[in-house]
Structure formats: structure tokens, C-alpha cells
Symmetry: C2
């Protein structure tokens, strides 16, 4: 297997933390997103979506999308499950993780890509070009505010995102909070529950991945 | 179990087709989205996200998000698997389905919600209000054009979204193509591969669900 990564980007970090938590090591190739290596003919042949993370299996199958990569890894390395331990828990973890993808990562990307000069024609990742929409950068900021406020309320009654079980949803939420710093959004000072959770998950050794 | 549905909405239809394909019948409650029943105190107590579809288990656990609901159903009703039959197939199906969620449903929602007078302050679903952004309606249309073109190219070499295996990704793609009609987007006349696939999947009895 080969893992295509970019150490400076927030999305592949979700997979790196997942692998660190499970003690998985995979041959890794760095793709230099800052210099557009994802658009090279060589990389496009492996992933027409021009994105990392990507996992390429021995038989040549390319698996894109963080949730799909992590599901494959969870199936072949079942120890220390991070996607849930029972059918109900797996459903709740998947629901939480999907919400963090839409309301966290997509919101952060709206805020960042629509306001950063270097992304002028690249307001969305992937093979297609889209123009920036300044109002969308503002909406991304609002959505991050709402996410932080929702997480603060949720974590008042929950140790982790899903009860007392550390899961992929905590990895996603940690990466969202760190990604939000790119658009100058930080945990508000009076959000003691979110801050307590953040200190806890970011002090795990995997958070350095 | 109880399934919270709205027969006129595109998102719960994905779960209805999934259940029809597997022959599952679940006690169903209709939520009248057109008249704002999702914002009633009664429904908010069950789902603070103010959304359908929703699955409520016997123990009271609420499961939101289509992919999570379908995963739970697949686990407890494993016959006729729609999420994949092997670890690799499950990963590829999940990747395809996630892409259809982001590039299909999210694009359609951008196009529809940002251009429809009745959604003035409701440019996104969920508990928070967001203003419409007219440029985002246009971008949603562009994204649907790109999705249709990508699907046409993909289906030139593939019977279904994932090889010769009918999966949840076909259900999602079918519901996206039908949802796109809401914003006057139809399969272009010369897209013979997409049309062939569409005719095939929409003629299955489940498509009426």
C-alpha cells in the first residue's frame, strides 16, 4: 500500500492521526500541494480528483475520501476500533463524523479558499475550477462560529464527541479546530467545555501526526 | 424503530430506495417540511438538527445522516448488501457515495436553496439560518454540469457507479439526477452513457420509493 500525503494540509492529517492511533505505518509519498504537484500528469494518472489523502492498494485500486480510507484501514487493522464497537455506536460515530465533514471542513474550506489570494480560481478542491465568492468566505466564518457553539454545548455533557469513546469523530473535530486557525478562528475564551476537550485530544501523542 | 420521512424531499428518498432494495419495512412518520414541521418543538426534541431522514431506535437513540442510517440498516439486515461485499469494494462504494454527497447533493442544494424565494433565510438546512447568496446558486448549476459530465465519462466504462455492482452509490446518483430537475437541470441529450444508466436504475421497482 502507498499513502499519498501532504504534511502541511489539514485533510490528510485526519488519516495520519487515525493511523497513529492504530499504530499503522504505511509507505508514504508527499505531494507538494503548495507547488501544484496534485495537478501534475503523473499524479492525475493515480488520482484524477487531484487531491490528497489517497490510499493506493497493492492491486492498484485507488481509494480517495478520508472516510473511505479510514474504513478500509479499520477493516484490515481491526484492533483499537475508531469507527465504533457496536452497530449503534458505528452509526452514531458515522453520523457525527459526517456532520463534522459538512459543518466543519466544508465550512473552513469556504472561509479559507474564498478569501485567500492564492486560491483565486480554486474556491473548491478537485479537478474543476470555481471562482471565489467573497460572501461565501463570510458565511464560512459564521458556520465555524455556529459549529464551535454547538460543540461547546455538546461537550458540556459528553467527554468525547461520542460519549466516553474516543473515535474518528474526535480526530475530525480536532483537525477542524486546528484548520479554523488558518482563518483566524479560535476557541472563544469562555468555551470551557470545548477547550477541555481540545486540551485532552490534542495532548494525545497521535495529535502530532 | 421509527423512520422519519418526507415523501416530497430528495434526501429521505435515498433511504427509502435503500430500504426497498433490501425489502425492509419500518414504521414511518411523515414530517411536513413544506409547513415547517421540522422546526416544531416536538420534532426538535427528537432531532435538534431539524432534518429528515432520521431513524429512531427502540432504545431512543436518534440516528441522523443518510450514510449513517443506511450503515445501521445494512448491519442489522445484511442480506443483499448495498455498501459493498468486500473491504475494497466497501471502501470504493463509500468513496463514490461521499463524492456524490458533496458534488451532487450539496451542489443541488446550493443551486436550489440560494435561488428559491421560499428559502430566503434558509440557504442551508439545519438549525442555523443563513442568507441566500445568488452567486452560489450559479455555482451550484456549474457544479451539477461538471458532475453530469464526470458521470457521463465514468459510465462509458462502467455499468453502475461501482463496476457491475448496484450499490448505495447508484441510489445516491439517481436521487441527485432527479433532484437536479428541481433546478431545471436535465441529462444532456448527447450523454448516452448517463442516460443508459439512468434508464436502468430508474426502472428498478425501488426507484418508485
Amino acid at each position: 500500500m502507498k499513502f499519498y500525503d501532504c504534511t502541511t494540509a489539514p485533510s490528510p492529517r485526519r488519516v495520519r492521526i487515525f493511523m497513529a492511533e492504530k499504530g499503522i505505518e504505511i509507505d508514504t509519498v508527499q505531494i507538494d500541494l503548495a507547488n501544484g504537484e496534485q495537478f501534475s500528469e503523473e499524479f492525475k494518472a493515480i488520482n484524477p480528483l487531484c487531491e490528497v489523502p489517497l490510499l493506493v492498494l497493492e492491486d492498484g485500486t485507488s481509494i480517495s475520501q478520508i472516510s473511505a480510507i479510514c474504513r478500509y484501514l479499520e477493516e484490515i487493522y481491526p484492533d483499537n476500533p475508531l469507527l465504533g464497537r457496536t452497530p449503534v455506536e458505528r452509526a452514531v460515530v458515522e453520523s457525527s463524523n459526517q456532520q463534522l465533514q459538512m459543518n466543519g471542513f466544508a465550512a473552513g474550506a469556504e472561509a479559507f479558499r474564498n478569501a485567500t489570494p492564492g486560491f483565486k480560481n480554486r474556491a473548491m478542491p478537485g479537478p474543476h475550477n470555481y471562482s471565489q465568492i467573497p460572501e461565501l468566505a463570510e458565511r464560512g466564518q459564521q458556520r465555524l462560529d455556529n459549529l464551535f457553539s454547538d460543540l461547546e454545548a455538546h461537550l458540556a455533557n459528553s467527554q468525547y464527541i461520542v460519549g466516553d469513546y474516543y473515535s474518528i469523530a474526535d480526530i475530525s473535530a480536532l483537525c477542524v479546530v486546528d484548520f479554523a486557525k488558518w482563518v483566524k478562528k479560535r476557541i472563544p475564551e469562555d468555551y470551557s467545555n470545548l477547550q477541555r476537550w481540545y486540551d485532552q485530544v490534542s495532548s494525545r501523542p497521535s495529535a502530532k501526526a
